[in-house]
Each structure stands twice: as structure tokens, then as C-alpha cells.
């Protein structure tokens, strides 16, 4: 059998019931979202519970980019490859599927600014006051990638970021990180760099249902066994390696082949 994870035994399906049928599909989220809740409810006499409404996670689905335009994807793939490069120790961000993860995050609620307050006015704040942009994350990515393109083009004789040698790419990224590079069009370079780095680590280390951490290779690299439920027998086994292979919400690669 191939390595198509959709065909794999999904142990979690049995735990959460029918709502998870087709994890990542929109159907489950429509049934119940533990955050958006529902119309106002009046509850009396019992603990309410409705079958088949588990608040299943909104995983990624489909192939290809839906948010990034081709030129944006070239920048993102090149940038995250420098943030987490590939080598024998463990996967790089690209190998772990981070660009695809970012694409789905930006196309979804996170990108739209859910859990961000974006109302005005928008004066510049102190560093202690945190994010103070009018842009939602999706808007910030779009504006920043374009502004970085302009900066790189004018600094490196018309060459695009992804065409630069790695050392020059790192120089640009460090300039964004420190804020030494000033970007046009109202883009706060430091805020953007901080967000991309954070989101890259999220894609690298989050559950594979969100599209990154391919084959849980980032978890394997550090020795995190994933979404294990019970470590009771290991609590007192001080200093021993826990030998479990990583497991995610949809099980782990290999289960359907009867391998260990």
C-alpha cells in the first residue's frame, strides 16, 4: 500500500464519532465550533450534549497553493528554507511542508485576522505594545512579500529573493529581523519577520493534519512522540528513552501496513 494518509486507519475517528468523518472537511466545522458557539442557548435541568457534534480540528485539505500567487510562493519557499534549512539532522521547512501549511493558514481564519483586533486608529506603538498594524496576517504577508520584492530588486540589481545566494538571503532576513531594512507601503519589517518565523515553527512542529510536519519528521528529529495520551508507566522511568514512534491525530505512517 502506498503512503497516502487518507487511506490509513484513523484511530481518532472512533474516539470522536461521526463528526470527524473526513477530517479537514468543512462539514465538521459547520456542525459545531467550540469557539464560535451557536445561537444563544438557555440551559436548564441537565448537561446538554448533542451526538455527533465534536469540535473536530480544521485540518488542511487539497493540493497546491490557494493563497500564494506563484511569485509569492517562490519567496516563501526560499525564505523558510533559510529559516529552517534541510540537512541530515532533520528536515528543512520546505521538506516538512511548511509552505503548504502557511498557504492553508493564510487562506483560512488565521489569515483573515481571527483573534486579532484590527480596528482603528492605528498609531505606531512601543515594542511593548505588540502588534499594531491594520493588516490581517494574510494582508501583511501579501504586502510584505511585495515590499521585500521591491527592496531586493533595488538592492540586488533586479534579482528576486529566491534567486539570491543563500548568504545574501540570510543578510536580507537578518535585516528584516532587526528592523534595519525599512520597507515601503506601511509594512513593518520586524513584525512581518516575527510572524513568518513563528508561523514557520508552527508548521514545522504542529500536527500533520494542518499540512506541515510531514511524516512527523520534525517530531522524530527532536524526540517528541506526538499526541500520546498516556505516559503513566514512563513517569518513574527516569532517563530512559521512550521508544514510541510519533503519533498524530490520524495515526502514523505505516499502521496500515502492519509495521511497527
Amino acid at each position: 500500500m502506498g503512503n497516502n494518509s487518507d487511506a490509513h486507519f484513523d484511530r481518532r475517528r472512533f474516539l470522536v464519532g461521526g463528526a470527524v468523518a473526513g477530517i479537514g472537511s468543512v462539514a465538521a466545522a459547520v456542525l459545531h465550533d467550540g469557539e464560535l458557539g451557536a445561537p444563544p442557548q438557555t440551559l436548564r435541568g441537565a448537561v446538554p450534549w448533542v451526538e455527533g457534534t465534536a469540535d473536530a480540528p480544521p485540518g488542511a485539505s487539497g493540493t497546491g497553493y490557494v493563497f500564494f500567487a506563484p511569485a509569492e510562493a517562490l519567496f516563501i519557499e526560499a525564505a523558510v528554507a533559510r529559516l529552517i534549512p534541510n540537512d541530515d539532522v532533520g528536515p528543512g521547512a520546505v521538506e516538512a511542508g511548511v509552505p503548504y501549511f502557511l498557504d492553508r493558514q493564510l487562506a483560512g481564519r488565521f489569515g483573515q485576522g481571527d483573534h486579532y483586533f484590527l480596528g482603528g486608529p492605528w498609531p505606531k506603538g512601543t515594542p511593548e505594545q505588540g502588534y499594531q498594524s491594520r493588516f490581517s496576517p494574510a494582508q501583511l504577508y501579501r504586502a510584505a512579500i511585495a515590499a521585500i520584492g521591491k527592496y531586493v530588486g533595488s538592492t540586488f540589481n533586479g534579482v528576486a529573493f529566491h534567486q539570491l545566494p543563500a548568504a545574501d538571503q540570510d543578510t536580507v532576513l537578518k535585516g528584516l529581523e532587526s528592523g534595519d531594512i525599512k520597507l515601503d507601503d506601511g509594512v513593518d519589517a520586524k513584525a512581518f519577520f516575527g510572524m513568518v518565523l513563528q508561523n514557520t515553527k508552527e508548521g514545522y512542529f504542529s500536527d500533520p493534519i494542518y499540512g506541515g510536519n510531514k511524516d512527523m519528521a520534525a517530531w522524530k528529529m527532536i524526540g517528541f512522540p506526538g499526541a500520546h495520551y498516556d505516559y503513566k508507566e514512563w513517569v518513574t522511568r527516569h532517563g530512559e528513552r521512550v521508544p514510541f514512534a510519533p503519533v498524530g491525530f490520524k495515526g502514523r505512517p505505516g499502521w496500515t501496513e502492519g509495521q511497527t
Binding site: L15, V20, G34, E35, G37, A38, P39, P40, Q41, T42, L43, R44, G45, A46, V47, P48, W49, T53, A54, D55, A56, P57, R82, I84, P85, V89, G90, F110, D114, H115, Y116, F117, L118, G119, T126, E128, Q129, G130, Y131, Q132, D170, L173, L197, Q198, F205, S206, D207, I222, G223, F224, P225, H228, Y229, D230, Y231, W234, V235, H238, G239, V242
Partner: protein, 589 residues
Amino acid sequence: MTTTLKPVDAVLVGFGWTGAIMGQQLCDAGLSVVALERGPWRDTATDFATGFAQDELRYMWRHHLFQNVTYDTLTIRNNSNQQALPIRHLGAFLLGTGVGSGGVHWNGQIFRFLPSDFVTRSHNEQRYGRKAVSDYDLTVQDWGITYDELERHYDAFDKLCGTSGKAGNLNGKIMPGGNPFEGPRSSEFPTPPMIQTYAPTLFGKAAAELGRHPFPNPTGNLSQAYTNPLGAQLGACTYCGFCEKFGCGNYSKASPQTTVLPYLMTKPNFTLRTECEVLRVELTGDRKRATGVTYVNSAGEEFFQPAEMVILSAYVLQNVRLLLLSGIGKPYDPATGEGVVGKNYAYQTMSSVNVFFEDKILNPFIGAGALATVIDDFNGDNFDHSGLGFIGGAYIAGMVTGGRPIEMIYTPEGTPDWGLQWKHAAARNYLRSFSIVVHGSCMSHRGNYLDLDPTYQDIHGRPMLRMTFDFSDNEHKMSDFLTDRAAEVARAMNPREIKVNRRKGSFSVVPYQTTHNTGGAIMGTTPRDSVVNKYLQVWDVPNVFSMGSGAFPQNAGYNPTGTVAALTYHAAREIVSRYLRSPGPLVQS
């Protein structure tokens, strides 16, 4: 148009820990009670089942259980010379919402404050002189209540939760294995302490070698199955390492869901309305009595809920805001020091020391929210502060709450935040490192306060709350001294290296610190210097009671929930035993 509803005996504004406890107490006394919660209903099986609860991205980083600041946030500045700007994305503290609220996604640390913590002003003044409590413009006060008065209520909360721990002081007798500095307990913990994993064990050994007094942290993550006095059943914790910021799918973490709701929701005199946000408390013309609350639901319909009693049981920041929006009590003015509502906002002063081993596999993913070995030798006034230039202290904890890899990878001093070097450091150190937490007190300060923002509004068009806060020199000195003590223990563990993360500079909303916001609706002995009396009854409007950590005149070096719950039980007992017979002020001003 506002629809007026049938009057009730009591309305609860917000339905987390304090709402659940107060609801249970008042319903048992036979009152008709309506709770209004602005967030959704949440239960274990539907909302944080074991099949998907361990999701670091969704719960920690996408804030799935937290207040959505898109609709309502607060503004922040470090001092009154700055313009306050909205917290556009939660960071330093992670506000709860929904049924259970912060009681769902907390770590489950169930501490009691020290007896001396309740008399911060008089105790320190007596021992160290007047300057100790007035330097740095400190505005610390006594609470107007003693540890001894609260003990039975702390005990009630322990029995509700099934707290796992070991008593260090049982009826005045110091017991081996517990915290020798704690106030006397009237009974042993309901369940034995959790078993310590490797890193906390190493921490405890090193601390003991230095002459400190390590003990297992009291936990609301249960070491064994437990049935509480309300008949609610909790299971033994499996050490999955997903507590803080997460709901427990295993019924192992004490929460309103696991301890109170199975009982309270079946009471015929209790009604819960979710997705209903209270806009203000309504008062009579003379402003001496509340008539009920006005709220709006998620469909946009507005209601007036008449009530004999209004219990503010939302989070501290919402309680204070509702007092200000409703015109209850005199707002605090930092220029004159007059007024009380919003006064003495405080926080928690956090720092840490990362410890890196070469040869020891710590398995940090085996954890629980409160799983730690702790020393209390330098908390509160457990040590002589003479000549140190500060009051207060911290507990120091060898704590492994879990090993969630986006949040909890520690890298040595000098490691960049990205690139091959970062990746190699992450791969090398994840299994071999952990963090010692320094959980410090935060004294109140003249310039730290809460009021209404003049510019920014929430989705209902109401002014946002404005927070003006920074750490005073007292806090910086305390934190430096305590961080040095933590580093001593770290070095005594003989690690390859350590990294000391001091509390530097001004308060920032960006990095997560703790969701332990306190003050603004403080308790005390007179209406001149406090908002509520020792029964959390508002001096100016005696049928309004304000629950929660807003009552703390300053914050101690402990997690607040145990004290918040004890104060709630204390208030409920007085309401039921005295107030209902003769509604009016429970303390004469």
C-alpha cells in the same frame, strides 16, 4: 428594544470558577439563579475530547479557547505619559471565555497564600519599617481578612477539586514531605501528590543539597481517581503534557466542568444562558441599589434581567470594567490617589532559568500542568528581607508541564532563533533541557491602574478597558534576587550549561507570562481605600458582589485560583447565612 425578563433572586455575570461555585452555593440555599455567559457552552466530550485535545497549534497558538479580541480587547500602556493602544493579539496573558473560562485551560496549580500575604502592609511595616511599604510609590494594603478566616474555604476548594499534594503544616504541626512554610491546613490533601518526573526530581535533590525545602506542587491534575462532595468524578492524570491552554479530555484536571457542573446543571432553580454578554449593571436613581443587568445575546437581542442580587463573576478585567461602565464606585485617580475602582492593578513577576544536560534524557513531554517540585524558602516573607531593598518573593519550581515543541524548545545562550544552528540546538537539547520557573509576587504601585479607554471601543460601542502598568523597582529587585536563587539550584544540578532569563525592562504584552491579573476591585476595611468589603460586597451598592482576583490589594508569589475560590466560598457563606435574612451592608462602614 429591551425585553424585560422574569425577576430572579441572583444573576451571575460570567460563568467560570467563581460563577460555578457561587451558583452551586446559592442554588443549594434555594435561590433562583440565572448565569449569563458571553461565550459558548463547552463540555469535555464535545469540546476537548482525547481524540483531538492535544493540539498545540489550535489551542495555544490559534487561541481556540481564549477570548476573541476581534470583538473585545483592552488597551495597554506602561505609564500615563504614553497613549494606550489595543492589545491586538493576546500574548502576555491568555484570557478565557465560554463556560468554565480560564478554569478550563488553566494548569491546575492550587496554592494558598501565606498568612503574612494577607497583611502585606502591616506585617512588612512592623518588621522592616515604614519605608519598606512606601518606597517606590508602593500602595500595598492589608486585605481586611486573615488566612485563618479563609482556611476552611481553601479546604472546601481542595475537596471540590480533589487536590493532589502533601500537607506541610497540618494544624500547626510541620509535616515531612510538604511545604513547611505554608499556613496551617485543617486536613491533609484529598489525594496524594503526583509522582515527579525526572527533571523535577533532579531539581528537588539539588535544592535539598543547598538546604532548601522542596515539596511536590499541589495540583488540580489528579494523582488518582476521586469523587468530590458534589458527586462529580475525576480520573487519574495520564501525564499527557497538555494542560495549560488546553481542556483536559480525561476528566483529570479540576475545572467547573469536572467538579461543579454535573451537579449544578441538574438543579431546577438554576438556569444558564450562553452567548449572552452583560453590558452594564442597572442601578436605582439614588445609585445605592442594583435592579439587575442589561445584556445582549449573539442574535443581537437585548434583555433586562431583574435580580435581587448581582454577582460579578467574570474575569477580573471584565468585572472592573463593568463597575466602571455601570458607574459603581468612584474611579481611581493616580494623580491624587483618590477613588478606588481600578486602583492597585497588579500582575505576576516571572523569570526563569533554563537547564541543559548532556547526559540526561528528561522526556519533557511527560508532564502535567502543575507537575513540579517547588521551594518556597524565598516566597512572601519566608526569609529576612533586611537590607535587600524590596518586599515580596517567589516560589521557585522545577516544573515540567509538558514538551509542546512550538512553545517549549529551549536553546542555549547565544543560539540564534533560526537557521541551521537553531535547528541543531533544538534537536540536541529538546530531550535534555527544562526550565526552572520563578513565580514572583507583584506589589501594587501608585501608577498601575485600570480605567476606561477614551478612544477604543468594543463591538457594542462601549469603551474598552485601559491598563496602565509597569513593573516597579521593587519588582525588579525582587526578581533579580529570586532569579539568582533559582540559578543556584540550577548550577547545583551539575548541568552542561544554564541560561538565565531575567525579568528585564518594561512590561510587554508580547511574550506569554501568566494570566494572573489582579486588583482594580480591591477588598479592604473601609470604602475609602477599597471597592469591596471582606465578603466581596461592593461598599457603595450592597446588593452587588464582585468576585475574583480583582479583590487582591496586591498579588502574592502564588497562582491565584485557590485564593479566588476561597474568597468566593467565604462570600457565599456570608450571603447565605446573613445577607439573605437581612439584605444590606455586611460590614458597617
